[in-house]
Amino acid sequence: MLNYSLKRLASAVPTLLILITVAFFLIRIAPGGPFDSEKALPPEIEANLEAKYQLDDPLVVQYVRYLGDILMFDFGPSFHYRDWTVNELIAQGAPVSFTLGAIALVLAMLFGTTIGVWAALKQNTVADYATMSIAMIGISVPNFVMAPLLVLAFAIGLGWLPAGGWDGSVSRMVLPSIALALPMIAYIARITRGSMIEVLHSDFIRTARAKGLPEREVLVRHALKPALLPVISYLGPAAAAILTGSVVIERIFTIPGIGSHFVQGALNRDYTLVMGVVIFYGVLIIVLNYLVDLVYAWLDPRIRYDN
């Protein structure tokens, strides 16, 4: 197990380096720079700014210096938010995005698996078909459609919840986390149903039932764990879905998380902020996938032995 986990960890380093390199040069190739605006700056001011942010060196020199800086965990000053460093912006945005993402993930797991198991038990009944049809709609409707609908109904129509903003209060978390979780609830429900049906038809469940175990015991003790395996392996992609989803959701609900910095940073050509967020996302996805692999290996011994 240790051997396996170390091997997986070592492969993360080159992945990250490739990510950094590609992102660094891609954003620099994009036309327009951080200081371009409607009213063109006088050339001497532009030169001052470029000198201040060390943009006047050759690109390769900047790249090498950047690699050195990030080894020291210094992501540099933001080019757009002149009063802030990228470290400060990420430190401020990360807890917000994490909170939102974590709530959404918990909601998705809780409701997704429950609905999935229930549908599996009612296999091929009206209830099953109805639930799965709704789930299909949940998967197909993108969250940038779902989110404004939720706002329209619960913030503007009923006036129960705020339409946006973030101050750490629960009421402001409800709509964005539901909007973020909905497609995942649907997806997890479908996965759970499928694998639960498969497990329920397997020999060891038949054996458990033949031994006279109560149905409840059969489900909870024997069927649930193997049925959840595909759900666990979906958690890696799910985390990525939360990250990309939050980019949209954070903008719709004006939430000051990493996602909105990512979009705004790219539009503003805020090189350092975009790089900071890319690295942050990269590390996060790599770590989450790594954890999922570990959990998976723990749940299914065949995996750790094969490797």
């Binding site: 371009d36 001052n48 700014l49 945005g93 339409a163 903003g165």
Partner: protein, 496 residues
């Protein structure tokens, strides 16, 4: 028990400001628009940063609810006969937000810092006419100008001319002071107890909410979370008027929208061609049917609403003159639009896209000219427009920095970095240069001649004048629509 009590007390303290209940005035929630770049008075340049800075700081002059310049930190001033020496007496009540008095040296320090190369101030160019600024005594500021500047009073209401505190003191000089800022989210301001006119400031606090998406801002206004929005999403004006009635505030704005020919392109060499394309556009149709947010059709550059400037918007025909346009195009060597296709480039925006599609359709239907529409992301667009290597016809526009026609016209001086037409016209340059040395009606006449000259050259196609668009809670008083679209929070109040 004490623990519970302490918890409840803390909870009450936390909830109080959110609920907007401080006894001595309302908390006003305003939409800010995009996240401001910085709160440094010399480095800021976006509209949203300026709105915040006008609440946090004050200059020698400030703006009244109608957007007109009025005394700020200066209680009185005089200007010399030649218009080049301005002498300001400071209001003795002027204080920094820590209670220390504001002195003339703070203004001298401000100009000096703006001009330091290390500051890299994008707006320092506005101070160019200032030759010298001095503080003969702590209560007097004297400016020596290189030439008379008719908009000097307005210039002093801009952040780049605000006083700057001595090093190491994070203080502000305006009606409010900053309590908290979360980038990309909110800026919380509270009333500055040391503000020189604090008794006239009704709001106990102002919270500016960053609103990158106009539709999200609209939702928050409809849910009762904002008292005033920065803008209104385009294209839904009728629906909004029906839904929100008197909350919708649309009013003329000192801004002009036009298309610009890149005169470096050989295909635009013939003035007849440039005029023909302009004549083929039905501006009434464009503003009423396509944009529909109250924009005023335009055939000139400088918008109405400036003192002493003729208002050309009344009793004019803004429909197209197709017959003349066809004749001109024929004379330019393109009968029926033959052999002519043009490219129209604009930055991504729903309003611009609608405009571009409509203009292209008019050119095609009326003149037979084919148009390629090129939609570019903002940074790409401004870069291409500035270089002028690949552009043909680009979207142009200008929002006044101060209420003066030269602010619009100087952009077409051959030496201006904002001359996207790459127009080089000796007569226009001569008129603009001459106006700089003049004052009063003679200056306006010269500028009017300059505008005529610019339009005669057909370097631009004026389309419409901007309007400002806001949603304002009917309970919010002190919000007066004005052509500068400047609304300081200190004039606002919230009625129960």
């Amino acid at each position: 028990m004490p623990v519970v009590r302490r918890l409840l007390l803390t909870l009450a303290l936390v909830l109080l400001p959110v609920a907007g209940l401080p006894a001595d005035g309302p908390v006003i929630h305003r939409g800010l628009g995009p996240s401001p770049d910085t709160l440094d008075i010399h480095r800021a340049q976006g509209l949203s940063a300026f709105n915040l800075l006008r609440d946090l700081h004050e200059g020698l002059l400030t703006r009244d609810p109608h957007g007109r310049p009025v005394p700020g930190m200066a209680s009185a001033w005089s200007v010399s006969e030649d218009g080049r020496t301005w002498r300001f007496e400071l209001d003795p009540a002027a204080r920094w937000s820590d209670g220390a008095p504001i002195v003339a040296a703070d203004f001298v320090r401000g100009v000096a810092r703006a001009r330091e190369p290390g500051t890299a101030s994008p707006t320092v160019g506005w101070l160019a006419p200032i030759e010298r600024v001095e503080a003969p005594d702590p209560a007097t500021v004297v400016f020596e100008l290189a030439h008379p500047v008719p908009w000097f009073e307005e210039l002093l209401t801009l952040p780049v001319a605000f006083p700057y505190p001595p090093a190491g003191r994070a203080v502000s000089s305006g009606a409010f002071r900053l309590v908290e800022q979360v980038p990309g989210s909110v800026f919380r301001l509270e009333r500055n107890p040391y503000f020189r006119a604090v008794d006239s400031v009704a709001p106990a606090a102002v919270t500016w909410h960053v609103t990158e998406e106009p539709s999200a801002e609209l939702a928050r206004f409809r849910a009762g979370e904002l008292h005033a929005t920065e803008t209104v999403p385009p294209g839904r004006i009728d629906w909004l008027r029906e839904q929100l009635g008197e909350a919708l505030r649309i009013s003329p704005y000192l801004g002009s929208f036009y298309l610009v020919y890149n005169l470096r392109q050989p295909k635009f060499a013939a003035p007849e061609l440039r005029q023909a394309l302009s004549l083929a556009i039905d501006r009434s149709l464009l503003t009423e049917r396509v944009l529909g947010a109250g924009e005023l059709p335009a055939t000139r550059l400088v918008p109405p609403g400036l003192d002493g400037w003729p208002d050309e918007t009344r009793d004019r025909d803004y429909r197209s003159d197709v017959e003349r346009a066809r004749a001109l195009l024929r004379r330019a060597g393109h009968p029926g639009g033959r052999g002519l296709d043009v490219e129209l480039r604009f930055n991504s925006s729903l309003a611009h896209r609608r405009m571009a599609v409509a203009v292209a359709a008019m050119w095609k239907q009326q003149l037979g000219v084919r148009t390629r529409l090129v939609n570019e992301e903002w940074k790409v667009f401004v870069t291409n427009r500035r270089h002028g290597r690949i552009t043909e016809i680009v979207r142009g526009g200008w929002i006044a920095d101060w209420a003066d026609p030269a602010n619009f016209l100087d952009n077409f001086h051959s030496a201006s970095p904002l001359n996207y037409a790459f127009l080089s016209d000796a007569e226009l340059d001569r008129l603009l240069d001459a106006a700089r040395a003049l004052r009063g009606p003679a200056r306006l006449e010269t500028l009017l001649a300059a505008e005529d000259r610019l339009l005669d050259r057909h370097a631009i196609i004026p389309l419409y004048y901007y309007v400002s668009r806001h949603l304002v809670d009917p309970r919010l008083s002190g919000w007066e629509d004005n052509v500068m679209d400047i609304h300081l929070s200190r004039w606002l109040d919230l009625e129960d």
